[in-house]
């Protein structure tokens, strides 16, 4: 009897919870429907046509996709570049976690350091790109000046096909770390200190605590940073445009940079949309795989 009322109550609770749930998630979906659906559908439709401004568009079915996948070596080259550049994501996350752990303690001047690491995030990207171009300048840049002062023979960075991407990855880690650090700081603060105290009583050392308490405790945020950084990295391009213009020899042209050029420089909006949906599907797959894998390593409790 008692048990039955409980299920009934649960059910009605569940029903009303359902409506509350729909109500709460309604605004973002309304936002998507009103502001995003039209551009999204429009770009999907364009990807099936020869749309180019000023010319009548012809419906060509999957022809654009065909061209991107089989007849345009630049698509594959720039896709490869994009994944190469995305190497900065895991590296950046590790560095950010280390810095966040260093800052997550009572220290004199820690507010100062936190601000310092966050600075690139809040600064104008254009101004920063100009500064980094100057730092990386092969012959008269800041970096190579000091590297040669200590007797090294530095590379030409942004103008050397082998080094340009590495330089951009370094710049990206430097510039993107701030966000990950403050997200990690929020996550680290969220791990109950009682867990650490209990572990200390049990005689666990620092490394054990890190592996068994910290890592699982911050795993939801790690997961978030991973997903959003991957989306960001796989769509990144303004930095590349500002620092190297995609060169030398297309070595730093990312796929979104390429599709941007196709759309706005070569006016082939239809073809550019097809490349955009192609990369969109790849990103979606990467995300789905990560969501599936996340069940193994992300702990919410």
């Amino acid at each position: 009897m008692n048990a039955r009322t409980k299920t009934v109550k649960r059910k009605s609770l569940y029903r009303s919870e359902m409506w509350w749930g729909f109500l709460f998630i309604a605004p973002p979906f309304i936002g998507v429907l009103v502001f995003l659906l039209y551009p999204l559908v429009n770009s999907l439709y364009m990807s099936l046509t020869t749309f180019s401004f000023g010319q009548p568009a012809e419906f060509t079915g999957i022809e654009n996709y065909n061209r991107a996948l089989t007849n345009d070596p630049l698509v594959w080259k720039t896709l490869w570049n994009t994944f190469y550049a995305a190497l900065g994501v895991p590296i950046g996350m590790i560095v950010a976690l280390i810095v966040a752990m260093l800052l997550d303690r009572k220290l004199r001047g820690r507010n100062f350091f936190r601000m310092l690491f966050f600075l690139p995030t809040i600064c104008s990207m254009v101004a920063l790109a100009m500064i980094w171009q100057w730092i990386f300048n092969a012959d008269f840049g800041l970096l190579n000046y000091y590297l040669s002062v200590i007797g090294l023979n530095p590379p030409a960075w942004l103008v050397d096909e082998k080094w340009a991407m590495i330089a951009i990855i370094i710049q990206g880690i430097w510039g993107g770390m701030g966000v990950s650090i403050i997200l990690y700081l929020a996550a680290l603060g969220n791990v109950p200190s009682s867990l650490y105290e209990a572990a200390t009583v049990d005689g666990a050392n620092g490394w054990n605590k890190f592996i068994h308490i910290t890592i699982p405790g911050i795993s939801p945020v790690t997961f978030f940073i991973l997903i959003t950084s991957l989306i960001g990295a796989l769509q990144d391009f303004p930095r590349f445009q500002l620092l190297t213009g995609g060169g030398p020899n297309y070595s730093t042209t990312t796929i979104v940079y390429y599709l941007y050029t196709v759309a706005f420089e070569y006016s082939e909006m239809g073809y550019a949309s097809a490349i955009a949906w192609f990369i969109g599907v790849i990103i979606m797959l990467v995300i789905l795989i990560n969501f599936l894998l996340s069940k193994r390593w992300v702990h919410y409790n």
């Binding site: 039209y38 999204l40 770009s43 929020a186 009682s194």
Partner: protein
């Protein structure tokens, strides 16, 4: 007794050692972070002919304060700043609330298709924005919203998938027992959200607040595309007017970038204590 003192001392020495290592690492990292900014600051104070002298010159031969004066006389920095605030603040406040609500629903409430809907929302981020720029512009034009702040303010009020995602991760970590207790007391989900969820996720919300503020504050493409009238220009548009088609005025661009940092830095300094110090979850979960 004596053994105890030794251990205490030992602990102390290892503590000091650890602290030294931490400081050394932070200082090394700090230098790497600071150098580009010091260079920016130094450039912003240089007379124009001196920007590219080599070997690198850190201290300008004469401090050119006039660069800072110029950016205020040549561009409407103050007006731009207030316009930016008009654009950023409503979106920030309402957007955050909306995001937190739906994050709570996605994290805790049970309803059919919840996780699929969540994936859909995250999925809207995967298509590169470049191909949607023109359709979006045409759409907002058909709403009659061009040359107004509306395209910059209103969509953001409906929440951003990224923020929802982050807050969901946080709320999911909260123990269910807290809500269950409140439910038994007859509180509805909105009450639970206001009374329990918000206080417990304050640090996460403030962190996201800083990030959203920063994103809005530094947005350039949106205002560039939608605004035409100079009196509506945001700060970033004002700052961009120092590079002409022919020449780039390095000193002014750098001075502008330095000045633009100030408001966000103040906000960050002010919010720091909330979002980093103010976490009081200890004991709740234990």
């Amino acid at each position: 007794m004596s053994t105890q003192t030794t251990t205490a001392r030992k602990e102390k020495t290892s503590d000091v050692l650890a602290k030294t290592v931490v400081y050394l690492l932070l200082i090394a990292g700090g230098i790497v972070m600071a150098v580009p900014f010091l260079w920016m600051l130094s450039t912003s104070l240089k007379p124009e002919g001196e920007v590219f002298s080599y070997p690198p010159q850190w201290i300008p031969s004469t401090i050119a304060w006039e660069n800072y004066k110029l950016i205020f006389t040549d561009a409407h920095m103050i007006r731009g700043f207030f316009n930016t605030m008009i654009v950023v603040i409503p979106t920030l406040v309402i957007g955050l609330l909306v995001c937190a609500l739906s994050a709570y629903a996605f994290a805790k409430l049970r309803f059919p298709g919840r996780d699929k809907l969540f994936m859909t929302l995250v999925g809207t981020m995967v298509i590169p924005g470049a191909v949607m720029m023109i359709p979006a512009f045409i759409m907002f034009k058909s709403f009659g919203w061009t040359d107004s702040w509306k395209p910059l303010i209103i969509p953001g009020m409906f929440g951003a998938p990224m923020t929802i995602f982050f807050l969901r991760q946080f709320i999911k970590q909260l123990p269910d027992e807290l809500e269950d207790a409140a439910k038994i007391d007859g509180m509805n989900p909105f009450g639970i959200f206001m009374k329990i969820i918000i206080p417990l996720t304050k640090p996460a919300i403030i962190t996201q607040g800083i990030l959203s503020f920063n994103a809005g504050y530094n947005d350039y493409l949106g205002p560039l595309i939608y605004l035409n009238s100079p009196e509506k220009y945001t700060l970033q548009l004002e700052l961009a007017s120092f590079s002409s088609y022919y020449v780039t005025e390095w000193t002014l661009i750098m001075a502008g970038a330095v000045v633009a940092l100030v408001p966000t830095l103040i906000l960050f300094a002010f919010a720091q204590r909330f979002f980093i110090e103010g976490i009081a979850l200890t004991g709740i979960k234990g």
